[in-house]
Amino acid sequence: MNKRYSALRHFREGLRGHSGWGKAWRSPALKSTYDVIIIGGGGHGLATAYYLARNHCISRVAILEKGWLGGGNTGRNTTAIRSNYYYPESAALYDMSLRLYEGLSRELNYNVMFSPRGMMVLAHSEAEMEIAARTVNAMQINGTDAELFGAEDVRKRAPILNFDRDARFPIHGAIWQGRAGTGRHDAVAWGYARAADALGVDIIQNCEVTDVIREGGRAVGVNTNLGEVRADRIGATVAGHSSVLAGIAGFDLPIHSYALQAFVSEPLKPVMDTVAFSPAYGTYFSQSDKGGLVFGGALDRVPSYGQRGNMPVQELVVSGLAEMAPVLAKVKLLRHWAGIVDVTPDSSPIIGPSGVDGLYLNCGWGTGGFKAIPAGGTLFAHLLATGSHHEVSRPFDLDRFRTGRLIDEGAASGIAH
């Protein structure tokens, strides 16, 4: 059994070679039946399991992970956490998530290093300032903290940015969300895994689902490389490969898969204390606690499942950073990588029944799944436990594509997810 983490216990363990910490999670054998099976051991799957056990007292839960837990987009993203959304539906979802992040380290007894250092979305013209004002007002009405920054406010928070008035995209101001920030992505996965495991959830790694077992039109279990397993309800949290799972279960989704690249520079002493995003340059960045600049930008142009970097986007994103903050041009890029993301027509997620009885979906997070992990888990657990939507997840049901009630943040605010 894993010990509770605290500074005092850490001190004591230090004296005896850290031999007393138990496993952060068990490696249990797969049982033949569970109340709930969750396919996919990323952040959303792990959080869902945790909240099923914690909020709904359902702990006969298995998470089936094809590889290693947290190995998909949870472990590949650029760790921004924010709720600067335009529509009330999105704001409710992402602000729920942000609020949960605010207390997550203590909730999970695991330091996820949530760092509310603030995030700015830069506006580069007076026209963009008008759109920024529209978004700030919407955020304030939605109950999210937001300020409209002028150029001087931006300079105070992020002096390394390019304040040249003759820049191709000069800085006029920004949308500022002070509660936004970053977190340690792996720690979120590990913290949920450890806490879920402690509540009795079975995390089965290296377990690949090969088939969804359907009886009488209802999904009743799955076949895996480790054998058959059955459950009352099955939840899929397999972002990037949602269409593949849907294909196994016999339906299609409104999703395209794209590679999204991320980058980290060599570590520097602190130069950037906040998160900045420039839609015009197509790049955003922050500095990790270790000192590396963590940055990213646009999706690849070509739909794919190729979990690899691609030069056209590298050139676009990296040059975008060098333009946003020219002093960074001489800093060296250390590593870049890619994850596969689900892209829906409105770039908003899908949470809800799949259309196959007994099978539920949590997918379509596009480029922004990490920040939504606590809310995604809470809402999906609610759905799996009760069979019906939480009011916050209702608008994100698959049925919105039929009714046309899309939640297209990009179209509303001119700011992509």
């Binding site: 490969h241 269409s243 593949v244 294909g247 299609d252 989704l253 409104p254 999703i255 395209h256 898969s257 142009r301 070509v302 739909p303 794919s304 499942y305 190729g306 691609n310 030069m311 056209p312 027509p345 594509f401 039929r402 009714t403």
Partner: protein
Amino acid sequence: MQLFPCPFCGLRDEREFQFAGEVGKTRPNTSEPVSDADWDTYLNTQRNEKGAAREIWCHLPCQEYFVMERDTVSMDVFGAIALRKDPS
């Protein structure tokens, strides 16, 4: 940077191309009633193949649309044919 074969211009840089959709999507005849579900399928649903895929692409400089077959995992390109000659 991938190289895609435009049937008219030959192998060109991927930045010259625009993905235009999966092969086989036909616009419902809207002069007759179309159900919400059919319209949703037409607008939104994707096969999103992992592996071999047949897709419509546009080569932006010449503006010709064509069918390309490729592998969405390995990035291998198997071939391309002009749209108007495609039997499907």
